[in-house]
């Protein structure tokens, strides 16, 4: 299925519109800050509209994952074609984008969170031009990662996103921003290098026949990599369950694990969150972390189903550590933002637990949890941002009694906090419950141990709520104004989504159902081995 506007595919619009916006921002006169903000807002609003179109026209029955035929909104052009390069031979790289039930929710999430983040960025006064230019570049990178079906393209977008993030934290961040930005950059780059190695190994192992010339070509096409028949016999990654396939899987895994972030690669996250400006924290938690789990689920699993199955239990165990360890670390924090950062680590562990369950409920729970964590944690960071803007402190023990001082703010806060602690009726519960229901079927005791996280989350969330919002108001905060209209515009849509999906999740679950079922089948079936036999 294709869908074009002015002969350009909708996903290309989605991905490169922010670049157009960036150029516009760069061309605007330096003094016209308003125009820059409105440009960024217009771009993200347009993205949201496009996301609506995608949602409306998405075919819920198509599986995607490894077949180009069932990818939706796809676009395929020859991008780079160099006839002869020493050692490499002919290099052919496609511009290949498309979405399925796993990536579509992420695309919607990215559009939504970008829009919210622009609103949260409205009060940025320092170097506005640079800020919004970088912001829009980041937007392109994020969107690109979720729509790319060519590994080379995926890698390019993955790296594109790094640079603006580095500057956005390093220039507009808090007191230790440079440390945090460098840590983030180098850590992620370290993972990228491993990913690049795996990518090259895959490239040299996989060939497809060029329909035009009939010659065998090495390819970066991700879908081709998912078919074991395309691996050249004798190449490094051919066969199944070989040593090098495991090595390559682990290389990819580390690249993605750093992004999730999985224990023990997670320590960049609290620093980056604490130093990043509110909107960037929102993006970071709302979208960037999902790239890690998305990569694992959508890229690493189907390309290396054998290795994925082989390392399923260890991965689930890491998920369990993330859940419990993240929750316990969160409990000990005194900085509001750091607490939310650790809670993200805990909640992303649930995604891992759900996807390693390798069954429908678990996989759908994981994808849904990615979406829900995006909206809920975005709310939490916005909430921290609201009081930080007013009081210039994030110390949990500096507050108390805000419930009476800021009633509207507190109402929104209650929704976000309860959603984060998995209260039924709010979206986080459903995805957590599904992840656990799935995981219990596969890893009984690990799932039982992970439920400890449910109790710990309730404990630290309610403790935080009490310290900040209940009790008596310190005199110094008697003048704090309640939440303003702009902040409400950012928070209320998220709150509405959290409530609606909490009561009736089918609209979102329907999107992912076919793909999740297929992915589970595909990976469980020894990765196309059975498919190949058919």
């Amino acid at each position: 299925m294709s869908f074009t506007i002015l002969n350009v595919g909708i996903l290309t619009w989605m991905t490169f519109l922010p670049i157009v916006g960036m150029v516009v921002v760069l061309l605007l006169p330096k003094t016209n800050k308003g125009a820059m903000r409105w440009t960024a807002l217009a771009v993200t609003v347009f993205q949201v509209v496009l996301a609506g179109l995608i949602y409306a026209n998405f075919n819920r029955g198509m599986t995607g994952i490894n077949s180009a035929e069932t990818m939706q909104f796809k676009e395929l052009f020859s991008w780079i074609d160099i006839k002869s390069v020493a050692w490499f031979g002919r290099i052919h790289i496609d511009y290949f984008v498309g979405i399925d039930g796993i990536s579509a929710p992420m695309v919607l999430l990215t559009a939504l969170i970008s829009f919210v983040a622009v609103i949260a960025s409205w009060n940025i006064e320092k170097a506005v031009k640079g800020y919004f230019a970088l912001f829009l570049l980041l937007d392109t990178g994020m969107m690109g990662v979720f729509v790319a079906l060519d590994f080379f393209l995926f890698y390019v977008f993955w790296e594109v996103m790094l640079l603006p993030m580095y500057f956005l934290i390093g220039v507009w961040g808090g007191p230790r921003r440079e440390y945090a930005a460098i840590k983030f950059f180098i850590y992620t780059l370290f993972g990228s290098v491993l990913m690049l190695l795996a990518l090259l190994a895959l490239y040299f192992s996989v060939t497809v026949v060029d329909p035009a010339t009939g010659e065998k070509l090495h390819t970066f096409n991700m879908l081709a990599m998912m078919n074991p028949a395309n691996f050249e016999p004798g190449s490094i990654l051919s066969g199944l369950n070989t040593y090098w396939r495991y090595v390559a899987y682990i290389a990819l895994f580390i690249g993605f694990a750093i992004k999730v972030p999985l224990f023990p690669f997670h320590t960049w996250l609290p620093d980056a969150h604490v130093e990043a400006p509110t909107a960037i924290s929102v993006i970071l938690a709302g979208v960037l972390l999902k790239m890690g789990t998305y990569g694992l689920m959508r890229v690493a699993f189907p390309i290396f189903p054998d290795a994925a199955m082989y390392y399923l239990y260890p991965l689930a165990f890491i998920g369990f550590i993330n859940i419990v360890y993240g929750a316990l670390c969160a409990m000990a924090q005194k900085d509001f933002k750091k607490l939310i950062a650790y809670s993200s680590i805990s909640h992303m562990g649930i995604v891992i637990l759900g996807m390693t369950a390798m069954n429908t409920q678990g996989m759908m729970g994981a994808v849904f949890q990615m979406f829900n964590h995006g909206t809920i944690t975005a709310m939490l960071f916005l909430i921290v941002g609201v009081i930080y803007d007013r009081s210039h402190t994030r110390g949990l023990d500096d507050f108390g009694g805000l419930m009476n001082q800021m009633p509207k703010y507190s109402a929104i806060m209650v929704i976000a906090f309860f959603a984060a602690l998995g209260l039924p009726g709010l979206s986080g519960f459903i995805s957590e419950a599904f992840s656990f229901l799935g995981a219990f079927q596969t890893f009984r005791w690990l799932a039982v141990a992970s439920t400890l996280g449910i109790i710990l989350t309730a404990a630290y969330m309610l403790w935080t709520l009490q310290r900040v919002f209940l009790g008596t108001l310190p005199d110094k905060w008697k003048e704090l104004p309640d939440i303003n209209g702009r902040e409400l515009v950012a928070l209320v849509p998220l709150a509405i989504i959290v409530i609606i999906l909490g009561i009736y999740p089918a609209p979102m679950l329907n999107m992912m159902n076919a793909s999740a079922n297929y992915l589970v089948d595909f990976v469980r079936g020894g990765g196309g081995l059975t498919l190949l036999g058919k």
């Binding site: 069954n359 039924p424 159902n513």
Partner: protein, 690 residues
């Protein structure tokens, strides 16, 4: 009236309180009287509808189960399972219909009571909104036909309880209590969640009926009976949390920080009874072992809390422990197999315990007003030792309170007599059948304790002389909005509503409507069948009645001797047994125990982990960074000293020797000739020697 209509009506019962919540939470401040009338009338309508449902159910569809199911999430065709979907829905059988009336009735009366009790409160409208939300969640528990919605509403009542306990959240104790309630409940909920996981993993459905049918059909979780027992016990964990059973009972006494009508509604009559309802609902899947476990939990709970209740001085605290104790009775009843009796006690207890709490609310309200009038802000309005003689000033409250007390003590002609007697008879039968004699012993002992501590309240608060004659003059009976619910509940504490025979409920409509369901578990692990149980029960009935009447009589007598005639001095007894008294006064030190182990352990461990995270894990990361910088510094030095040094050394040496040899490049022929000569001579001598 057809089944469709009844189901639609029940949906209306469910959503009316939700509508009340939404209206008041969004428009509360702008509504007349801040929306209390809306909340109350919505619940009144729900009550009417519930009564209609109950009558229709009992008269028209007595033995049928009405069910409405819809597909909530469809997973489509799933490998290894086939079509998989989550069906949710509601069901109405007789216990549902009865519970609907109980919940809406108590909720309506509490709404009414609150309009007077809470008037002038800072968050008056918020309070009514939360009451509506609670009622909605509670009715959800009652109506659901599956474990998934059960869990959903289970947690939702938890959160409404959290919000209402913490109604006066400015007070740290209230905020602490609400947090404690939620977290302790969550511990139980997680157990229930794991139980649901076991069922889902094996049956791929949440619907009660389908699961029971599968078990009855011989499909056992993981083909092992212990797993079936485990599933039952884990589901029961939810009840341990919500119904404040040992060892998770610690949250309920603290929950008394909430407004007193809330204590009546949530923490006495309805929410805490949800656990009992859950056990009743899931009764068919309970194995004999699970039921014995349940019976013991109930017995231990009943005993521990009854002993604690004796030593408490706060009127609400005594009632709180008495609630825990009575909940223990109900759980015990279900555990021993006296299904109908356990559920019956839930219903009768709901009325008289809600009454006791509302009655105590009326007393506290009066005390509070009197103290306020005197300008006294130190005296505790809830402390029994500050009361006395209230009977003369508050006759309606007193008589109502006395009726409830007689009911809870199990005095004939009251509803409590009927239900408690059946439970005790059941426990006796159970003892005979299984040889677990401890259960009936505890049952009768607790009956005596109950009578003692309840009459202790009545005597200390209402009889004798008031502590402070000056204050006594300012005490007044509460307004109509408060006394009407008290009278209604007092009426409902008489036997006639449940059975026309004042000495046995088994012939009444209730026992006819609520019959013990067939067990679904395999015979090998099933408890004694209903018929077998009934047979033994019949023999034990008279014994049980005699015994229970005597222990109750003894308890009441002892209370009179101690507190009214003062033949025994309570203080002296306490002083004579200081460790015992301190042990009871401090609630068996459960809070201290949990505080020192679970709470301190978790918080301490979290600090250790946070330290580990920032120092070790992040230390390694930063260490790697520093190591890289060190290496780069060293290689920088190596580069500038060794590599570049070598280059510079070559240049230097070249320069040095250049300078050196320049000295001999004098440009004078004589010098060169002299060098040549010297050279020739040197070579000459060398060759000669060689």
């Amino acid at each position: 009236m057809n089944q469709e209509l009844i189901l639609q009506l029940s949906a209306a019962v469910l959503f009316l309180p939700l509508a009340s919540f939404l209206l008041i939470i969004f428009f509360g401040k702008r509504l007349p009287r801040q929306g209390d009338a809306i909340g109350t009338s919505m619940l009144g309508l729900a009550l009417l509808a519930s009564v209609v449902i109950l009558l229709a159910k009992l008269l028209l569809f007595h033995d049928e189960v009405l069910d409405f199911t819809f597909t909530w999430v469809d997973f489509k065709s799933v490998a290894g399972i086939g079509p998989l979907k989550i069906d949710l829905g509601i069901m109405i059988d007789n216990i549902t219909a009865i519970m609907l009336v109980v919940v809406t009735l108590i909720s309506f009366l509490v709404h009414l009571f609150s309009t007077a009790y809470m008037s002038g409160d800072v968050r008056y409208s918020r309070y009514f909104a939360y009451l509506g939300f609670f009622s909605f969640s509670m009715l959800g528990i009652v109506l659901t036909n599956n474990f998934f919605l059960m869990y959903v509403f289970w947690e939702l009542v938890g959160i409404s309880s959290y919000l209402l306990i913490g109604h006066w959240y400015e007070k740290k104790s209230a905020a602490d209590a609400s947090k404690k309630a939620f977290i302790v409940n969550r511990v139980g909920d997680v157990g229930m969640f794991i139980g649901i996981n076991i069922l889902w993993a094996n049956y791929h459905t949440f619907t009660f009926e389908k699961i029971f049918a599968a078990i009855a059909g011989g499909q056992i979780p993981y083909d092992s009976n212990p797993w079936l027992t485990a599933a039952g016990i884990l589901i029961f964990c939810g009840a341990i949390g919500k119904s404040a059973q040992f060892p998770l009972h610690v949250w309920l006494p603290d929950a008394m920080e909430g407004p007193t009508p809330v204590s009546a509604l949530i923490h006495a009559a309805t929410m805490v009874a949800a656990g009992v309802y859950l056990v009743a609902r899931t009764f068919p899947m309970m194995t004999a072992d699970a039921l014995v476990f349940i019976a013991y939990v109930g017995a231990i709970t009943a005993f521990i809390s009854a002993t604690i209740a004796i030593a408490q001085n706060d009127i609400k605290k005594v009632l709180a422990y008495s609630t825990i104790s009575q909940l223990g009775y109900m759980v015990l009843g279900l555990g021993v197999g006296a299904y109908t009796a356990g559920f019956f006690h839930l219903v009768t207890h709901a009325a008289f315990k809600a009454g006791l709490f509302l009655g105590s609310g009326s007393v506290i309200h009066a005390m509070h007003n009197a103290l306020h009038h005197q300008g006294d802000h130190h005296t505790d309005a809830q402390d029994l030792r500050n009361m006395g003689g209230l009977r003369k000033k508050m006759p309606v409250t007193f008589w109502a309170f006395l009726v409830y007390t007689l009911a809870i003590c199990g005095v004939p002609l009251t509803s409590g007599f009927l239900s408690k007697d059946e439970i005790l008879a059941g426990s006796l039968a159970f003892g005979k059948l299984t040889g677990q004699t401890l259960i009936p012993v505890i049952g009768f002992l607790v009956a005596g304790l109950t009578a003692f501590y309840m009459f202790r309240i009545v005597i200390l608060a209402f009889l004798g002389d008031h502590k402070d004659p000056a204050r006594f003059e300012h005490l007044h009976e509460s307004p109509k909005a408060m006394t009407i619910p008290l009278v209604v509940l007092a009426c409902l504490s008489f036997f006639a509503f449940y059975s026309f025979n004042p000495f046995g409920a088994s012939s009444g409509w209730f026992f006819h409507a609520v019959e013990r369901p067939m067990t679904a578990v395999p015979n090998a692990v099933a408890a004694a069948s209903a018929e077998e149980f009934e047979g033994v029960l019949h023999e034990s009935h008279v014994t049980a009645m005699m015994l229970s009447l005597s222990v109750a009589g003894l308890g009441i007598l002892l209370a009179y001797v101690t507190y009214y005639w003062k033949k025994i001095s309570a203080e002296k007894v306490a002083k004579a047994l200081p460790p015992v008294h301190a042990f009871l006064l401090n609630k068996w030190y459960f809070d201290e125990l949990y505080g020192a182990t679970a709470v301190a352990g978790t918080v301490g461990f979290s600090r250790v982990l946070a330290w580990f995270d920032s120092k070790i894990i992040d230390g390694i990361v930063n260490g790697a960074g520093s190591a890289t910088r060190l290496v780069s510094f060293a290689s920088g030095k190596f580069d500038s000293i060794v590599v570049d040094g070598a280059v510079n050394l070559v240049a230097y040496l070249a320069g040095f020797f250049g300078l050196l040899f320049r000295k001999i490049q004098t440009g004078k022929v004589q010098t060169y000739i002299a060098f040549v000569l010297v050279g020739v001579m040197v070579f000459f001598f060398i060759y000669r020697i060689v």
